[in-house]
């Protein structure tokens, strides 16, 4: 009999108050026992909980300004859905939303497999010092700011003396101005994102690979599996839960196409192709002071992000049997 069945059975015989009191006392006692036993861990956890409360949950309440006209000198004026109406009737907003969706989809499709492949390849490197060197080299870009990365790529992609166009020139291909080419700039965003983050993101997959039971590899070896077969039949299935979890979590940040990256790699020619919701919110909210309108845009993006998490969760549940809850 399950706990729930027991409760229902108890309530049917009419002794609910006594059971409820006992249950409550039991919970309190269990909590007290837990606290006595685990208090150092609760204390260690407290700063983390506090951080999320202060910086992630309390600000949710402030999103109410999306429904108000902000006054620098209070009180704000309630305007209902006015800002959302303005937003949805603006052609610029739909353009930036379309840009965001396109760039985010490109990043998700082309970026997601790269750290997995990198982790699989790193796992196959046998020399300890060589592996450490490669790991350090591919993690390094993660610590560079977008200002630096933009400088590096603008120089590397220069049509006059950039390394990329020099290489293309050796292959007989005419130089191309990638940074001012409206057809190429979104690919520049995807590539720079991969260059910066693939190495770092591979760390999680590498940790998952290391956690796979060695006996599975031994068994596969006994069965005569070669390296490729071991990757395909042991390693990949072993990291599917990690891939699924990261995919779902990334889906929540799907519309975060990276404000810093876009601002630093943008210029007058390509702005219309890479102007995203975040740059729009920054421009409208902070630069022109339309805080309510910018909050409405941000809130809309957050709602879409939440929906993405839910959808990704159910898709993952159906395909892999794994989800985030």
């Amino acid at each position: 009999m399950t706990d729930r069945q027991h409760v229902l059975t108890s309530s049917n015989v009419g002794n609910v108050p006594i059971n409820a009191t006992r249950r409550k006392a039991g919970r309190v006692s269990a909590f007290a026992d837990g606290w006595r036993r685990w208090w150092p861990y609760y204390v260690m956890m407290a700063p983390g909980i506090l951080f999320f409360l202060v910086f992630h949950y309390l600000p949710i309440w402030e999103t109410r300004i999306a429904f108000e006209q902000v006054r620098i000198v209070p009180p704000n004026v309630w305007v209902g859905l006015k800002h959302f109406q303005v937003l949805f009737s603006s052609s610029v907003f739909w353009q930036v939303l379309a840009n965001t969706l396109i760039i985010s989809t490109m990043k998700m499709v082309f970026f997601l497999p790269v750290p997995i492949v990198v982790a699989l390849l790193l796992n196959e490197v046998r020399g300890g010092s060589l592996r450490k060197f490669i790991q350090s080299a591919i993690y390094l870009p993660h610590f560079l700011s977008w200002v630096v990365i933009a400088g590096v790529f603008i120089a590397a992609l220069s049509p006059a003396d950039g390394a990329v166009n020099n290489l293309l020139g050796m292959a007989g291909i005419a130089p191309r101005s990638f940074m001012t080419d409206t057809g190429a700039i979104r690919w520049v965003l995807v590539f720079t994102e991969i260059w910066r983050s693939a190495g770092w993101d591979s760390l999680l997959y590498l940790a998952a690979i290391i956690a796979i039971d060695q006996q599975l590899y031994d068994a596969a070896e006994v069965d005569g599996a070669n390296r490729w077969q071991k990757i395909w039949h042991v390693t990949l299935p072993g990291i599917i839960p990690t891939i699924a979890t990261l995919f779902i979590l990334n889906a929540g940040m799907f519309l975060n196409a990276d404000l810093n990256q876009v601002i630093n790699l943008s210029n007058d020619v390509v702005r219309s192709k890479i102007d995203i919701v975040d740059t729009y919110v920054y421009r409208i909210g902070l630069q022109t002071g339309e805080y309510s309108l910018a909050t409405a845009a941000g809130l809309f993006k957050a709602v879409l992000g939440t929906m993405m998490i839910v959808v990704a969760h159910f898709i993952s549940k159906r395909l892999t049997g794994k989800g985030v809850w």
């Binding site: 006054r71 620098i72 000198v73 610029v92 220069s158 101005s177 007058d268 421009r283 630069q287 022109t288």
Partner: protein, 474 residues
Amino acid sequence: MLRKLVLTTSTALALCLGITVPAMADPIKFRIVSKDFGPTNPDDVKHLQRIEEALKAQGTDLDIELVDLPSSGYADKLSVMLLSGDIPDLIYFQGGDAKMVEQGVLEDLGPMIADTTYLKDALWPHNVERLKNYPYLLYVYPVRGPQPVIRKDWLEKTGLKAPETVEDYVTLFKAIKDDDLDGNGVADTYGVTTADNTNELDSIFNQAFGITGTWMKNPAGEWVSARITSQEKDKIAFYASLRAQGLYDPEYITTKFDVKEDKFYTGKAGVIFGSSGEVIDIYGGKMRQVHPGTELVLLAPPKGPGGQGLSAVDVSKESRGFAISTTSEHKAEVMKLLDFMASPQGQMFDRLGFEGQEFTKEGDTYKVTDKIATWYARFMVAANWTPPVVWQSEAAQQSLATIQKDFKPDNTFVWPADYAADLDATENVYRSWVFKFISGAATLDQWDQYVAEWEAAGGTRLNDYARTVLDAKK
């Protein structure tokens, strides 16, 4: 007896206290938030202390608090600070002020400035115009405008005199490109480079091509944006020809300010633009670090088919500056501080720094030290005060003289918030087409296509509104 003594003593004490309380009154406290002027810089703190002491000696006892706001991303951080309801008495804006004015948070400075002793006479001509149009921001500094500079030794190597006409500029740019002035064996130096867009070139070529202001009359006598006029078309064609001859850096659009400077110091570009005398001196200093003994020469705006001079100066409003909040309880005291900073004593403090640190004085002779290079005025550079010692280079002084001589007010105005989207969209259309024309991705035969796109992006609405404003000024 004892009772009498106690009564007398206590009465005397009470009287003394009554007399002395006003003299011992607490100083008036107010707060300032400004960029590159904060409580973590010891120089800033010392500077403020001596200002307080000087004002106290004049009978104004102030206790001024500097708000600590990082300089990086200052405008954004200030915006968030004000939105949270934290509004200091004196606020330095670098944009974002219009929204505050719209909500009545900033004081009209006009009447207050009129009542000052020094400040009203310390204004530059452009300050006076801007305050008439937008009396909420005060930025008492010489007008800024990009002016071109070249290495003196390079100009001498070309054997050319400083350019005076548009054709002279082309000749100079060609010489820079062809004469291998950097001596690397390759003719790979651009005549000129700019950062981000063509604004810097416009500053000397607008007038030369007859672009006299942001708004001009079309052949039908109607006001239209200068950006869709035949004069603009001629100017863009000129820029395109410079690019086609390899004289204008084709990568200007991805060139940031630091990269622009780097191209200048490393000999990849012969001419760049400095936005003020101070900036030109910074260029000169950095150039000497790479090429010791090198001086910079300021080049004058060229004479062209449409005229000569630096481009017209926007006087619709200050783009940055100090504002007093309407919520301040000490507006008069804040204005006293600003008035003091415009006085000779305030200017000595603000412009020259500290004696023994930024300058030395022997008798009546002042000498600046190397540290003057890192000192800057925290409040203002009064138009009517001349420092007792000159430390700027000849090029920097000339730039100031030129911009004062060439000052022409532009006819642009402050836009209502409703036009923000149109301004943003038309700006994007203009900038992307200018690059297409210059890079050769589009030809000038497509000019009408550009104009149609500009008008469709909101330009027609802008033209219509401009006509109502400018016609009403007649």
